[in-house]
Amino acid sequence: MGARCRRDALPGLVPCAAARALGNVHGALPLGTSRASGVFTGVPPEEARRGGLKLEAAFLQYTFSGLTIGAIYALVALGYNIIYNVTEVINFAQGEFVMLGGLFAVFFAGSLGFPLWLGFPAAVAVVALVGLAMERFVLRNARNATVLSFIIITIAFSILLKGTAMFAWGKDPYTLPAFTSGKPFFVGGAAIQPQALWVLGIGGLVVAGLSLFFHRSMYGKAMLACADNPAAARMMGIPVKRMVLLSFVLSAAIGAVAGGVITPISLMEYDRGALLGLKGFGAAVLGGLGQFPGALVAGLFLGLTESFCAGYLSSGYKDAVALILLLMALFFKPEGLFGSREAASLKRF
């Protein structure tokens, strides 16, 4: 056994000493500021080039992983926006939809052995049903509830979802095979997993589909009308109740899509929802609550910020960065980076 280790697992134990020294130079430098390694005297130009390339590769790597997780945040943010637009309720259980989406995808595609093209939509459909149940059987029963009650109700529901998931799947993390197998490929020294492309692609599709839905279809337009003025919408014969229901279904489905595509990359377990939900909310607020393009940009921005923070500053405080951004946005620009103050002032804060 030892021989195997020495040959296969531990090669290159004696790399060129100069490269090591260089590595240390870079290790000690603030990485983000020293792209041009050549400025250090005494460093051979060839090594300098290699060092520079490495830094570039790191930068690219952070960008790719930031965009991937950012796409997920953006999807979660879209979910918040859809419900908020129609009901002005913030659904604290949004993150749990993501968790459920991932775990149901594992259930259908992994445990039941469905092919992925069937298992993934099945997972989305089931989670959409959960969203439907949440609106129909819980929120609708709280008719005269105060804002506070709505907050507590959605929190309570998220606890229930989390607890149920813990029962159904236990506490272990689950993984899902990538949508397409294949080795990661390298761009400029940075590794990209094929699944990351699926995340970005499907995220893009969802956004495109949503904008078509809201701007072209009757249903979508009717939903937006409910958001603007429910009383007027009701008078014009739009079934507001059904629109509210639809908004929960849609938003749960989008959350499930996010969960399904990210699981092959990051695994999924029962208590992942809260943090994803919180960060998605951060993206929604940064982008201006109710603003679809804003959510998209803000989600990617948040993902990149986190990734760069983990890469260049401190990985321990990575999660805090997103939340600090959220607080800053809430405190100083509650209408969001891309929203207008006027539009925001008309909303019920």
Partner: protein
């Protein structure tokens, strides 16, 4: 609210409370013909550390049944009073007090986690009841002058780190990049990795931490790669240790060997990580690799017996954490058998126990060492063809 409705709910609650009262286990004063020997246990059966506490609970229950079937301890039936602290220090605190005050147990095994153990050591000290913790932190039994009544059966992280560094040194590795999760487990590992590095002339060229809910470790690994280490050590439990393996493989870093903490030592992790885990190395307690042990290994027999019984009864692979419950409970039983249910005598017996063959090693306690294990009780293991194999 209508008055009759009010009354209905009030009565309903009163009935529930009454039922709850009656349900409570009978107090210690209920006399029985055959006075049983009691052992108290506090495990994290639920909550964040349930993956540790649950096999501990199962193991303890299995052992008690076995012992009672074979005539009990010195003629007395063994009674295990087990509470779940839900991985919360305040509950561990309450339960240990309850075991001492209400249940009047002469010895306590657990708690499961280092945090909860540290939250109760002072109670054991004040109440003068011996406590055999199943957690790893060295702080539980140091300084030993202030831990007169506290023992632990889990090897310290310093043993694991020592074993890893020893192996690396033998392989000519000197620059190490470490990545640890910001949990009690990860933080303790990080502390030991930093503390012991000079002793084995290791240079830590990278030191990354990450949250336990992290979804992507490529940034951390990329940073480590920048620092050009000879080897990487990841120290975490839960999904992040799988992510570390996957991302390490995806980033094409297979030429830098990856060492994991002993937390990786469960078959479930091997399944989750799949092919990516080939070549990952770790230092494990021998209980994990029973079948691989040489026949003349002193632990082979007890490990194989435990493994067989547990897997037959629960239809699931053993985990090394259940081994802690085995060790602590058998130590407690040995003490009860020898000196009876007297806390002070049990303590003295435990402190003088030598050569006790358990699941996690051969224990040699002394007044200076309330753990009794060393790094030599661990085996270096490598992942090969989706299974464990002994390294060297």
């Amino acid at each position: 609210m209508k008055p009759w409705k009010q009354r209905l709910i009030l009565w309903g609650m009163a009935v529930l409370l009454a039922v709850g009262w009656l349900w409570m286990p009978a107090g210690a004063d209920s006399a029985r013909a055959e006075e049983p020997y009691k052992v108290g246990a506090v495990f994290s059966v639920t909550g964040g550390a349930s993956f540790l506490g649950e096999p501990e609970k199962k193991t303890a229950e299995m052992i008690v049944e076995e012992i009672n079937k074979n005539g009990g301890v010195d003629g007395h039936p063994l009674e295990l009073i087990l509470y779940d602290d839900e991985t919360e220090p305040s509950k561990a605190n309450l339960h240990v007090k309850r075991l001492i005050k209400r249940d009047k147990v002469p010895v306590i095994i657990g708690p499961t986690t280092s945090g909860n153990s540290l939250a109760v050591v002072s109670i054991a000290e004040q109440s003068k009841v011996p406590l055999i913790s199943c957690a790893a932190s060295y702080k539980i039994v140091t300084p030993v002058e202030e831990r007169h009544w506290v023992f632990k059966v889990a090897g310290s992280d310093s043993h694991v780190v020592g074993r890893l560094y020893e192996y690396m040194k033998a392989k000519g590795i000197s620059k190490v990049g470490i990545m640890t999760s910001s949990t009690g487990f990860g933080a303790s590992g990080r502390e030991e990795l930093q503390r012991l590095a000079p002793e084995y002339s290791m240079e830590l060229v990278a030191d990354e931490t990450y949250g336990p809910k992290e979804t992507d470790l490529t940034a951390q690994l990329t940073r480590i790669r920048e620092a050009k280490p000879d080897a990487i050590v990841n120290w975490s439990v839960g999904p992040t240790q799988i992510l570390a393996v996957k991302n390490w493989r995806d980033l094409g870093m297979g030429d830098i060997p990856l060492f994991q903490s002993h937390g990786f030592g469960s078959r479930k992790n091997l399944e989750l990580a799949g092919e990516a885990a080939e070549g990952v190395m770790l230092a494990l307690a021998k209980v994990n690799v029973g079948p691989l042990l040489a026949d003349d290994d002193p632990q082979k027999k007890v490990i194989m017996e435990y493994t067989g019984a547990y897997e037959e009864r629960y239809k699931e692979p053993i985990s090394s954490f259940g081994g802690h419950a085995w060790d602590s409970l058998h130590l407690a039983v040995a003490a009860l058998d020898a000196v009876g249910p007297d806390p002070a005598k049990i303590r003295d017996f435990l402190e003088n126990t030598k050569g006790f063959v358990g699941q996690h090693g051969v224990f040699n306690f002394s007044a200076e060492d309330h753990n009794g294990l060393s790094k030599d009780d661990l085996a270096m293991v490598v992942v090969k063809d989706g299974d464990w194999a002994l390294a060297e």
